[in-house]
Each structure stands twice: as structure tokens, then as C-alpha cells.
Amino acid sequence: MRRVLLFAFITLMAFSLLAVVPQEFTKLSDNAPELRPLKTPDVQQITLKNGLRIMLVEDHRLPLVSGRLMYRGGSVFDPADKAGLAGIATEVMRTGGTEAVTGDDLSEMLESMSASVEAFASSESAYVSFNCLSENFTQVLDIFRDIVLNPAFREDKIQLAKDQIKSAISRRNDEAQEILSREFPRLLYGKDNPYVAIEEYATVDAITRDDLVAYHQRFFFPSNGILAIWGDIDAKAVAKTLKESFKGWEDNGRKVASYPKMKYDLTPGVYFSHKDGVNQSYIELGHFGIQRDNPDYYALEVMNRIFGMGGFASRLFKNIRSNKGLTYGVYGGVDWEYTHRGSFFVSTFTMSPKTVDAINAVIAEIRDIKTNGVTQEELDKAKKAFFEKFVFNFDTAGKLIGRLQSYAFYGMPMNSLDVLREKIKAVTVEDVNKVAAKYLDPDNLLIYVVGNKDEIDPSLSELGEVKEVDITIPAPKGEEAPEATEADLDKGRALMTRALKAHGGDAVLKVTGKEVEEELTMDMGGQQFTLTTVAKMVLPDKIHVTVTMPFGTIEQAYDGTTAWVKTPQGVQPYPAEEFKDEIMKEFFNLLNAVKNPDVTFQYAGTESLGDKTVDAVFVKKGEAQFKIFLDTKDHSIAGMKYQGKTQMGPAEMVQAYTDYQTVDGVVYPASYTVTANGEPYITSKVLKVVLSPTLDASIFAMPGAAE
């Protein structure tokens, strides 16, 4: 998605009276000489026999050469369950080296020459680029060619790339602005839309070396890309060299992929995601925009400059920021994409109490321009700025060739910049007013806010029904159970039934609740600390836990519907889903589930757990699943494996019971250990167990909650 959010650093109070311009200024402006003509460098365009398009520009001012292969292989083509594929493939094309040279050796070679070759993918397109001193051009071009044609995708670099992306995923909600920019397009276009898909732990985990090889095979063929090289080169010589270097590279029947079709189902309304620790709200609102080939594009470009993309001169800047002082940055307009309709958007941020004011002010601006249009003066100013700045579209070879490469990539005529100039010249006030009326829809806006719900006052509900947008990062899926056969299911339940008997049979089924005191030693980042817990439970789903640590006490509880936590700082709600998952693994609930037809037990062979041989059984209820281990000798529960999380992120947890005690005829664990991703995490000693105690029901309710 081509989206640039620019926030001017300078805030100025803005409200436009009739400008009183000093004489001196007018004189200098009127008497300014004509702009000296720019001699646009020649762009040589060649198509090789194999279909590869080449663009070359000579610029001998500095002894530097740059190049970029732009090809149709962006993330929009990632399979939904492997989101992140293009990103990883391009990363590892470089870091994984080529058949001949490892990525690390390439880094040594390139960096010693102060050169670089990089690859990356954006949404619709992907790139392999290089930059070097002209004296190293031959060598670097060769490395570039080798990476394009023969990437090795070495396994260690695949793992490194995946681990880094997963770490990046864990950080993606740290900044409110990032949340806003990521989630607004997903609300607008729909989460499942490939143009706005994002990587998740599960999709990254699913990507294999075969996928990367297939990616390369699918997108790297001559007709699928455009190679641009510019700088201190001899264009004729380079053209000849390229013919030679890419000989043998053929399409071999591969066809350029089509961009996915877009659906445009707008779901207007007010959406909100809470973010702790911010005293500002980040706001984006809008609806669908246009596609580049829409003939109204030109009038809309002028409208955009007047409305919200014209820097200090735009209405949004002057009225929302300067005049009303509601924000420090505001920007927006009817945006476009080559391959699908872009978005009409306005993006801003403001201190939390002014959230509703800011949104209403923006909506008022949209209505105003839609209903009342623009003035001749605004049009003239916008067009003048456009023409005066026009030279900056192509004042360097890099800018020029970048533009032409994009035009070629999207099938636009090479003279599109000239056409733009002519068309903008012809835009009138009537044209702008017409498109403003046609393309702006302030009654059907999708409004998204990321902010601190405790400080947004008046509340967003003044604008309409507020829908929460859950931005919780989905935990990685644990080990998945394979297809279940009848035999597996029967054996699983049979093993569980035996386990129930081994732990006390009816004595277990009779239990209504428990009070358990444990002493835990936790390992975190090389440091250990001890704490005690007291857990009180009324089966099946009411639980209260008191955790006593060296520096204080924490209470957590769940009453079957809502969960809360109480710390020295106070009481706060807690995600109920986390308790729901834990509840299912609880000792008594697990054994009681033997009688529950909604829970399936799928036998999955034998494994070892510590020094025990165990039968592995997948326990599944709805979407949730985890694995338990049953001792093959005495049929007791030896432990379990599940996806959990530690302070440092999601982790695969393995719990192993190391000792048991008998209480009221029930064989209950006396001690156990937990590892996280294979590392020691918790050691627990169960100090006291009371079964079916009488408990005060009020302890599960959130303190201070209305009765």
C-alpha cells in the first residue's frame, strides 16, 4: 500500500485572513527569472531477447553506481497461511548466499568494497538492489546476478530470519502509531485481504525452505522484472554486459501473476483498540479511494493538496491544527493505488481528552469541502505550488529512473509525468468541486482510534456504537494433532479412563473443589526467585490465586466469565481467555473430562518424558488442544505439553510431575517442574492440599464490582 504519513514538525496557528503580502516579496516573485531548463538525462531502454527489460541512465558526477531489479513478487502473493513468505524469501536470498558463496562471505566481500546488495519485498512488488563505487561495478554486478539467479537459501539463515521476524512480531504493539497504520487498512479492506495480510507466529513457523525455493522459481524469470542501473556507467557497455550475464535465463513458460481481485465491502463505524501508557489518541478515518487509472485522478490530486496533503497550506493543517489547536499533526486525502482502489483517509493524533473533538472537526472539514467546494484562490495557490515544485520530481538520475521504472512496472506510458503536468494545468474549480462531491462520504466513515480508554473523555460512544478491535498478538499454535482415527480416539479415552482409576476413580469424581498451597522457584533470565501461591478453586471454573513474592502480594481470579488481577497498584480486569485455557488443564477438570463427550482424547504414540516412557494423548475441546503424558507403567498422569507464555513471550511448556501424594483417596501431584522452550522455568513443591473445602463464593468476584 502506498501510504506516506507526513507530520509537519512545525505547528503554526493557522487561520487564513486575506494575506497581506509585503511589496518586496511580490516584486521578487514577479521578477524572478525563468527557470533554467533541465537537461533530462537520456534513459536507454532495452528489452533483451529473453524478455528482461533494462533501463540505463548515465550520471558521471560521482563515482557511484546503483541498480535495482523490480519484479512482481510482493507479499500480496503470499498464501494466507504463510504470510511473511516474500519477506523471508527476499531476506534469505541475500543472507543465505548463493550456491558458490555463503551469505557471510558475501557480506565480507561487499562491505570491504563499501558496496551493498539487498533484497526486500513490499506489498505488490519486490526488489533486489545494489550500490557500489564505480571501480567495483563489474564485481558487484556479478554478485548481484548470482543472487538473482542462484540463491542457496541456507537453512541457518532461514532460521535466523524467522526468529527475527518473530521477535519483531512480539514488538509490534509497542507503539500506538504503528498499531494505527497497521490495523486501519485491515479494517478497511478486511483482515483476510492479501494486500493487508500480516505475519503471525503460526504463518512464519509454517514457512519451509521448499517454500522459499518455490517462491524464487515462481517469480524470478526475465519477463517478470525490470532492471534499472544508473550512475557512473557506460550505458552501451553495460547493455552488452547484461546481455551476456543473463544469457540462459529464460521464462520457460512462466507467466506474470495477476494481482488478486479486490472486494470493496465498507464496514463503516467506530472502532477502538486500547493502549496503555499513552496520553494521546491516534486516529484514522476514511473509506475507499480510487484506482490510478480513474480519469478523476487529476482533479483529486489538486483537491488533495487543498484539503489535506498540501503541507502548511492545506485546510486540515490550517483549521484542525492551527485554528482549533486540536492536534500537532494531521494529514489526508483521496489516495490511489495502481492495482486497486486506495483509501480516502485522514490521519491525526491528539491529546486524549480532545479525541472526540478532533474527529468531529475532521468530519466537519470533509463535509465542508464536499458541500461547498473550493475557491478560485485555493485552486490557483495549489496549482502554482505544484508547478513551482515540479522540477523536484526528476532533479536527480535516481528520482528520474525510479519514476520510469514504476511506470514500466505498472504498464503506465513513459510520458506520464508530462501528461500529469498537462492535466493538472487544465483542472478547474468546477472539476475539483465535482470530485469532492462525488468521492467524499462523511456519512459512511470507518473511524479507528488507538488510545487510552481511561483518558478519552467524552467517550467515543458519542460518535456511535464502538467496536473493540482486538490487537492481541495470536500465540503460536502448539504441536498440532494429526488426523484422528477411530482407533486413536478409542485408545485415547481408554488410557484416560485408566488414568482416572489410577488417581482414585470415584474419589476423584466426588471432589467439588480444592485449596492448594505451593512453593515455586522461578527461573527468569538467569535469575531465580521463590514465591508461594495459594489457589482456591470451585470446580469446574471458579478459581482464586494469591501469589506472595519477595516484594508483594498479587491476587488473580476468574469466576467463569470475567477475570481480574489485584496488585499493590490496584484492581484491573484480566483477559478471561487465558484462564479458560488454563482451566481445562487443571487436574480435576482433566480427569472429569473423561466423561465429557465434547472433549476428545487422541492417542499419539509413546514418547519419553525425563526417564519415564509415556503414552502421549492429545486432549481437544473445540479449538483448544494440548498433549498429556501418561505413564505406561502405572497409567498415572506424568505430565503435559502446551503452548503458554512467559515474561519473555510465547513458549512451548512441558510440565513433568516428579512426585505424588494421596489425599482423601486421590493421588495428587506433590511436586513438578515446568520448562519453557526447553529451558528450566518453574520448580514447584505442593505444600498443602485440601479437597472439597468450604469456600466463600465472593472471593471470585472482582473487588468493587457492583453486586
Binding site: I10, R36, S112, S167, A385
Partner: protein
């Protein structure tokens, strides 16, 4: 058409290239000093009819005193508000109204300054009076006029920044507007009018909230620098402390401008389609109007040597981040080029030691690197190591591995490859800086200000060529010591995730 080509015909790594580049540059640069002390540097590149300009003022937040921290940055904002006759419909009436705003602010401030003894009701009343006065003054404002005029004439990339060391104003223009720009730029430093001062301060406070207070990393860096510097004004954030922002007055900002914005404290650098014979009289005409003023007082406080390691752990639900800083000299210190070499070897690219060890081999960091230049270079600065631990790893782990790499650098000479790479990259990076007119303008102004001679951008390359393996070990041993370091960690709280 006269064209001066910047041709490096004989390109060899080594001193030939640099000597060649130096000669070429000398031929393309014209420098002169106006009678009022303003230094002007012109660099010719006639490839396209565009020019980039920088007005580089040798004052930054390090010049501030307690009570007015943030004022350098505030004035930078104010420099876009126009002049006595650009930005207003009636200069005389406006000034009257502005004086009334000042009075209302002083009254509010007097009550506010009573601290715990202040009368809240009275304060609210005084606030309303202030708002009224501001509204009245706004009647005479033609807002954004300066910026709109300039943009309409083709100005692109209009911007400015304030650092601890300096304040810079820059933009790009089509080259046929040189005189118009000379008029506008000199005008705004000749007769700035600090209109809407108190509203703009509100905006600056919002900026502080956004950049620092609402951002975990922003908070962390502010704490880190404040802890590393206990005496020298690098201790204060550029955006200023919130309490100072609350009470800064327009008179104080006007004073600031009069003290520091004077021609012999400024450099104007222009790069691009500029012809010295035509440009010089234009610049002399318009910038010659800036009056000379007495030389401002320099910063005299010197940060004393650190007496022991300083550490802070900041708890925040965001992902972890570790930063370690060591005190070092300023830009003109003889060891500066050695530090540049160490930065390159430790932190630049996939061949750097920190990348190889922490990211690639041990896989404990998502990213790790080293840099200098923060807070600034005019006064003794910091050499900084940083790391972002990978999921499942901690700041403590990243810290210990970094110290291992630092010890290695003290005791074992770096390899020939590493040292050669430093020198080659320095030259490559230098050339890349010259690619854009705005890059060139900025480099010229920067060097002219910090060393007194723009030609020193070349001597810097010569210096780095002379760095030896022994130099690196010596500098590492001398500066990367426990006593000399400041460490700040940002990490989630340990107590069960809810704090």
C-alpha cells in the same frame, strides 16, 4: 552553459581519490564572509536547476540554563511564524495585543510559581484572561503566511531541527528563486515576530508528550542521557523539561534570539545551481542587513570524570532494550577518528562484531550496534552500545556479551580486513554524502561551524586512514571502563506481567 563536472577520473582507493576529490571540491566551492561576520559557502552543481540551502546557527540546547530548557527548540518553531510584516494584517495593533498576552501570562505565572501555596481558583481565572488575550491577538494573525508564501514559490522540504549543539533551517528551491529566498530567510532572522508564542508552547508540550512521555524508548533515552551527564548541559533534553516549558516567556525567547542569532554565529551554505558571481551580491544585499551583536558567552561547564558505574532499570510492558554509554572527547579530540573506526568495526553492517556475535551466532539480539554523536559533538560526548534482545533473551545476557566483545577489543588487535574495511567505507560513505545537494550543504555548514574550516571534511578522511590497531586497543582500554559507563535497561516488570 557553464558546467562544472565533478569527475573523478582517476579513482583509486587511497589518498589519490581523496586528493582528487579535494581539488574538485575546492574548484566548486566559493566562500566569503560578510562585513557583519556571516560566513557564506557556495557549492556549484549545475546538473539540475535546483538549490539546497542551510542556515546553520551555532546554538543548541546545550547553551540553555536551568529554567529555560527547551527554549532553543521553541525558538526554532517560532522562526516559522513570520516577521513583523509577514504573518499579520496589522503589525502595530498586533504588537499591542501581544503585549497584553504577555501581561496576562506573567500574572498567571506569578500565581503558578507559588507552587503548593497557589490558589487554584485564581489560577483558573488568570488562565481564562490569558485565553481571552490570546484570542484577541489572533485577530491580527495571518497564519502560516511565511510558509505558504515560500511553498507557493516552489520550496520543497521546508524544515528545521534543533540539537544539543546547533539549530539548522533548511529547504530546497528551484534555482530561479535565489533572491526571493535570500530576502525571506534574511528577513525572518532580521525581524522575527514571536506571534502566538504561548499557543505554540502548548504544541511543543504536545510534542514532548508524543516523543518522550508516551514512548517507552523516548523515556529511556531521556533518562539515560540525564544520568550520564550530571553537570554539563547535555544533561537536559532538547525538548526541555515540562516544568520549564510551562513557564518560559516570550521575552525570554526574544532574548535568546538576540543573544545567539547573529551573523558571526551563523553559517549559510548553498549547494546546487548557484553562480557565485550573481549570488554573492544578492546574498550581501539581503543578509548584510543582519546587525552584528556582541559574541555570546560560551558554555563553560565541563562534565567532571564519572566516579562510578551508573545503572537504571526502567520497567515497561514493552519489549526489552539495553543501552550502555561511555564518556569520550569532543569532535576535535585526537581520538575521534579512532572512535569512528571502533563504531564501524563494532556496529556497522553484517560484518560488524556485534552483529556477528549477538545477532548471527549467539542469536540473543534482534539488533545490536554502536554509535557516537549523541548527545552532541561540540562538547565531550558518549560512545554508545545498544541491543534489542530476541524473544526469550534478556538485557542482562546482551550486556554481558557486549562486555566480552569490549574486552576482546582491548586485548586483541583487530584484523587487517577489519581495519581496511573501516577506511574503505569511510571513503564510500563520504562520496555518498555528496550525492544530494542538501547533504553537501549540510556537511559544509557542519564542518565550518565545528572545526572552523569546511575543508576539514577531507582531513577527517585522512585521520581515519592513519588509525592503527594499537590506537584501537589503547582507546578501548582507556575509555571502556566500568567507572566510565552508564547503563539503562528497558524491560517488562518481573511481577507476573501486570504492573
Amino acid at each position: 552553459m557553464r558546467r562544472i563536472l565533478f569527475v573523478f577520473a582517476l579513482l583509486l582507493m587511497g589518498s589519490l581519490l581523496i586528493a582528487g576529490a579535494f581539488q574538485e571540491m575546492e574548484q566548486s566551492v566559493t566562500e566569503f564572509t560578510l562585513d557583519n561576520g556571516l560566513k557564506v559557502i557556495l557549492f556549484e552543481n549545475h546538473q539540475a536547476p535546483v538549490i539546497s540551502m542551510v542556515t546553520y546557527v551555532n546554538v543548541g540546547s546545550a547553551n540553555e540554563k536551568p529554567g529555560i530548557t527547551g527554549i532553543a527548540h521553541i525558538f526554532e518553531h517560532m522562526a516559522f511564524k513570520g516577521t513583523h510584516n509577514i504573518g499579520t494584517s496589522d503589525p502595530a495593533k498586533e504588537m499591542e495585543a501581544m503585549k497584553k498576552v504577555d501581561e496576562a501570562f506573567y500574572a498567571w505565572k506569578a500565581e503558578y510559581d507559588k507552587g503548593d501555596l497557589k490558589d487554584s481558583a485564581k489560577l483558573d481565572e488568570l488562565k481564562s484572561t490569558l485565553e481571552e488575550a490570546k484570542k484577541n491577538a489572533k485577530e491580527y494573525v495571518v497564519s502560516n503566511e511565511f510558509n505558504e508564501l515560500v511553498e507557493r514559490e516552489g520550496c520543497s522540504g521546508l524544515n528545521a531541527y534543533t540539537s544539543w549543539d546547533n539549530t539548522a533551517y533548511f529547504y530546497n528551491f528551484p534555482s530561479n528563486k535565489l533572491e526571493l529566498w535570500a530576502y525571506m530567510e534574511s528577513e525572518r532572522f532580521l525581524n522575527p515576530r514571536l506571534r502566538e508564542f504561548y499557543s505554540e508552547k502548548d504544541v511543543v508540550m504536545e510534542e514532548r508528550r508524543m516523543r518522550t512521555e508516551s514512548s517507552p524508548t523516548g523515556r529511556m533515552i531521556e533518562e539515560f542521557i540525564a544520568m550520564a551527564y550530571i553537570a554539563h548541559p547535555y544533561h537536559n533534553p532538547v525538548v526541555g523539561w515540562m516544568s520549564d516549558l510551562m513557564t518560559i516567556t516570550r521575552a525570554e525567547a526574544q532574548n535568546w534570539y538576540e543573544n545567539y542569532y547573529q551573523p558571526n554565529n551563523m553559517v549559510v551554505a548553498i549547494a546546487g545551481d548557484v553562480f557565485p558571481r550573481e549570488a554573492r551580491p544578492i546574498i550581501e544585499k539581503w543578509f548584510g542587513r543582519l546587525p552584528t551583536r556582541p559574541t555570546p558567552e560560551p558554555v563553560e561547564t565541563v562534565e567532571p570524570p564519572q566516579r562510578g558505574e551508573r545503572r537504571e532499570i526502567m520497567e515497561d510492558p514493552s519489549q526489552p532494550f539495553a543501552i550502555i554509554g561511555y564518556h569520550k572527547g569532543d569532535f576535535n579530540h585526537p581520538d575521534e577518528s579512532v572512535f569512528n573506526a571502533i563504531t564501524d568495526i563494532m556496529g556497522n553492517g553484517r560484518t560488524s562484531r556485534l552483529y556477528k556475535r549477538l545477532v548471527r551466532d549467539d542469536k540473543i539480539a534482534l539488533a545490536a550496534g554502536a554509535f557516537t554523536g549523541i548527545p552532541g559533538q561540540k562538547f565531550p560526548g558518549l560512545f554508545i552500545f545498544y541491543g534489542l534482545p530476541m524473544q526469550g533473551h534478556t538485557n542482562d545476557e546482551v550486556e554481558s556479551v557486549m562486555y566480552e566483545e569490549i574486552e576482546k577489543m582491548k586485548n586483541e588487535p583487530v584484523s587487517d580486513e577489519e581495519l581496511n574495511r573501516v577506511k574503505t567505507r569511510a571513503k564510500g560513505d563520504f562520496l555518498r554524502e555528496l550525492q544530494s545537494n542538501s547533504g553537501v550543504a549540510h556537511q559544509l555548514a557542519f564542518y565550518q561551524t565545528i572545526t572552523g574550516d569546511w575543508r576539514d571534511m577531507f582531513s577527517e578522511l585522512e585521520q581515519i586512514d592513519k588509525v592503527t590497531k594499537d590506537d584501537i586497543m589503547r582507546v578501548a582500554k582507556e575509555y571502556f571502563t566500568r567507572t566510565n559507563r552508564t547503563v539503562v535497561f528497558l524491560q517488562p516488570a518481573k511481577d507476573g506481567g501486570e504492573s
